[in-house]
């Protein structure tokens, strides 16, 4: 059985329909790319899976590890292993990265029946994971994302992901705002976190991230539903012909 099973999902915000019968099945160990033009519902899908309450599900279901995901509080989803790398990571002035992340890691570990990390263990783990994404240790002592550059914020997201060891990671436009070097570093960080027990959904507008993080499956989202699915080559097709052509062939 799949780790994540989205079936005929309809969702709206303030009466405006965004998802219109979206179905997607993601198994453990798989990397899925979800591509789509602006307004296709990509970010809604990411936020909804993470538990953002501003969206209303009007039809369909989401099952995660055999349980109804939609009934879980956002923090419970996180503790159950769902991680969302935000398109726009929030700045949290006054809250040190180290304090925040240690609280998060220990909340998750406690939920999973693991012992909490003490300050030393945490620091050791953090140091090694920061190397993965080329983030200097000084960032641990700064306020969460405050004054970070776009690239630093995205690296910090993947660093958090590495620390939280999710079962399902959703990367929402992790490539946006990154230069080529940052993109490569972030992608390498993500690739190092691929594993048989971990599913990853890469949400992106462009194909370029998928040159580095090669997906097992690629889906094209349009008008709130998946209109095409295929292998990694589908991303290049999108790049060549554009979303409009893909959507038209799909509906033809």
């Amino acid at each position: 059985m799949s780790l994540l099973e989205i079936s005929n999902l309809h969702a709206e915000i303030e009466g405006k329909k965004i998802l219109n019968g979206l179905s997607l099945s993601v198994g453990a160990g798989e990397v899925h790319a979800v591509m789509g033009p602006n307004g296709s519902g990509k970010s809604t899908l990411a936020q909804l899976l993470a538990g953002r309450e501003i969206y209303t599900v009007t039809e369909g279901s989401v099952t995660y590890d055999g349980r109804n995901l939609l009934e879980m509080e956002p923090y419970v989803r996180a503790r159950e292993g769902i991680f969302l790398s935000f398109q726009y990571p929030l700045e949290l002035p006054g809250i040190a990265n180290s304090y925040f992340l240690k609280a998060a890691v220990n909340a998750v570990r406690k939920h999973r029946g693991l012992s909490e990390l003490d300050a030393v263990d945490f620091l050791m783990a953090a140091r090694s994971k920061m190397k993965l994404v080329g983030l200097d240790e000084a960032f641990l002592h700064r306020a969460v994302n405050e004054g970070f550059s776009g690239g630093e914020k995205k690296r910090n997201e993947i660093f958090q992901m590495a620390m939280l060891e999710p079962r399902l990671a959703i990367l929402d436009e992790t490539d946006s705002g990154l230069d080529v070097d940052s993109l490569r570093t972030v992608a390498e960080g993500v690739n190092s976190l691929r594993g048989p027990d971990r599913a990853i959904i890469v949400i992106t507008h462009y194909q370029r991230l998928l040159d580095y993080i090669v997906p097992d499956r690629t889906h094209v989202l349009s008008g709130g539903r998946i209109v095409r699915s295929g292998g990694p080559e589908l991303a290049r097709e999108v790049e060549e012909h554009g979303y409009k052509a893909i959507a038209e062939t799909a509906s033809a």
């Binding site: 993470a50 538990g51 953002r52 309450e53 509080e73 956002p74 923090y75 989803r77 996180a78 503790r79 991680f83 969302l84 935000f86 990571p89 929030l90 949290l92 002035p93 006054g94 809250i95 925040f100 992340l101 609280a103 998060a104 890691v105 909340a107 998750v108 939920h111 306020a143 958090q160 939280l164």
Partner: protein, 447 residues
């Protein structure tokens, strides 16, 4: 209650015990205070400066000072209170007052610090009253309102801190005003004098605390003179019992080239009003005013700043923040006056409020009066709730909703304590803010 007659009778009762009696100038000063409060009474909401702070509940109980021989407190209890004060080290200079009276055994006069002289106002007025004549009432106008007049009429004890010319005192000097819980409500009138000599550097921390359930009014006044090129830090941390009332005025006068860094924390008291008038009297003087109140229940805190740019090239900055839970009420008034001819002025003001409770109210009033043209003046006020996006982000990392909320409030409030120099006072104040935010969060759970 507290009519002119009541006040006169009360003054009659304690007059014989007041310090330094017989010094003509001092008797005259008290008499002026007494005459003023008897005549004009206390401010009401009809007074524009007190529009949002109704002190009628404060005046429902008789304002009766405690006599020195009525003060009872165990040494051990006092030591425990001192140990709980943020930033106080084993060797910190420390003046301790209980119910308005100096406690010499619990105090440490810090005599090893060259150029520092601290002690009790009472002792000084008994021993050499003339030495304070130049300072008492010099900048603080007796008639500014009833509370200052009352303080002056009953002035008896408080802290005297003198920093000699050029003296650099690295260790913060702490002053504690503790109020006990008594059968009958009472008033204390701490009167403090801080004189920073030319070119000196020091930091004074005033702590106001009280026993749980204490019913009293702390009616404090601090007069500060910052000499030429001196750098003074002043921290005021008010953590009175939430059954108490607190009124305090910190009157500052700054000579040329001097700087003041002020922090005012308001966590306690049912109702509090803190006034910080600063006169930038000399050229190139500057002040940085920081404040934070964090309130819940029906607490009310009013901060009233008045920055008087009386000379050219003076700079001021006001950074005030408020956290309001439940039905708490926070008031901020930031006045800036730039006098004619005071050119090349920089004045910045911001007041940010986090209004969390359904019934909570924040009032924020920038009042700018500018009579010069070469002035850079900015002000900004905000009244907001917690950022939903940030709450979601934190929860998405596995932290529950309540803790996410606490973290955000902490992140908002902590900035005020973070700007304190030096360590370990900074760490102590940050811990005090964290503790206050956590206690607000715990209270919130029960509702």
């Amino acid at each position: 209650m507290n009519t002119a007659g009541d006040i006169m009778r009360e003054h009659e009762r304690v007059r014989g015990s007041l310090s330094g009696r017989g010094a003509g100038w001092l008797d005259a000063l008290r008499t002026r205070g007494l005459a003023r409060v008897a005549e004009a009474g206390f401010p009401t909401v009809r007074n524009e400066d007190w529009k949002y702070t109704n002190v009628s509940q404060v005046l429902k109980s008789a304002l009766r000072p405690i006599l020195a021989d009525q003060v009872r407190i165990e040494d051990a209890a006092l030591h425990a209170i001192v140990a709980g004060l943020p930033g106080v080290g084993e060797d910190s200079p420390l003046l301790v007052f209980v119910d308005g009276h100096f406690q010499s055994r619990a105090s440490r006069l810090g005599k090893t610090h060259r150029g520092l002289s601290i002690g009790s106002l009472r002792e000084r007025l008994e021993r050499e009253p003339a030495s304070l004549q130049p300072w008492l009432g010099k900048y603080l106008p007796v008639d500014v309102h009833g509370f200052v007049a009352f303080n002056t009429a009953f002035l008896d004890d408080g802290a005297v801190v003198e920093i000699g010319e050029g003296a650099i005192i690295e260790t913060p000097i702490h002053v504690l005003f503790h109020s006990t819980s008594r059968a009958e409500p009472f008033v204390t009138n701490p009167r403090n004098v801080i004189v920073a000599g030319a070119g000196s550097s020091a930091l004074v921390v005033e702590h106001y605390v009280g026993a749980a359930g204490a019913r009293h009014l702390t009616n404090a006044a601090t007069e500060i003179a910052v000499g030429r090129d001196a750098a003074l830090g002043h921290v005021r941390i008010q953590r009175e019992a939430e059954t108490a009332f607190h009124v305090g005025r910190v009157q500052v006068d700054q000579e040329a080239g001097s700087s003041l860094t002020s922090h005012s924390f308001g966590f306690g008291a049912a109702l509090s009003r803190v006034e910080l008038p600063v006169r930038l009297a000399g050229e190139d003087a500057e002040c940085a005013m920081h404040g934070l109140w964090a309130l819940h229940g029906t607490q009310h805190a009013d901060h009233h700043l008045w920055i008087d740019h009386a000379s050219p090239r003076t700079r001021s900055r006001q950074t005030y923040k408020g956290v309001l839970e439940d039905s708490a009420r926070g008031v901020f008034t930031g006045k800036v006056l730039v006098r004619p001819g005071a050119q090349k002025i920089e004045a910045r003001q911001s007041n940010a409020n986090l209004v969390l409770g359904q019934g909570a109210v924040a009032e924020t009033r920038p009042q700018l009066e500018i009579y010069a043209d070469d002035v850079q003046c900015t002000h900004g006020a905000s009244i907001g709730r917690l950022d939903e996006d940030a709450l979601f982000y934190i929860q998405q990392r596995g932290i529950d909703a309540r803790e996410a909320r606490r973290l955000l409030v902490y992140g908002f409030a902590i900035e005020v304590a973070e700007s304190v120099v030096p360590e370990p006072l900074r760490q102590g104040l940050m811990a005090a803010v964290a503790q206050r935010v956590a206690s607000l969060a715990r209270q919130g759970e029960g509702q």
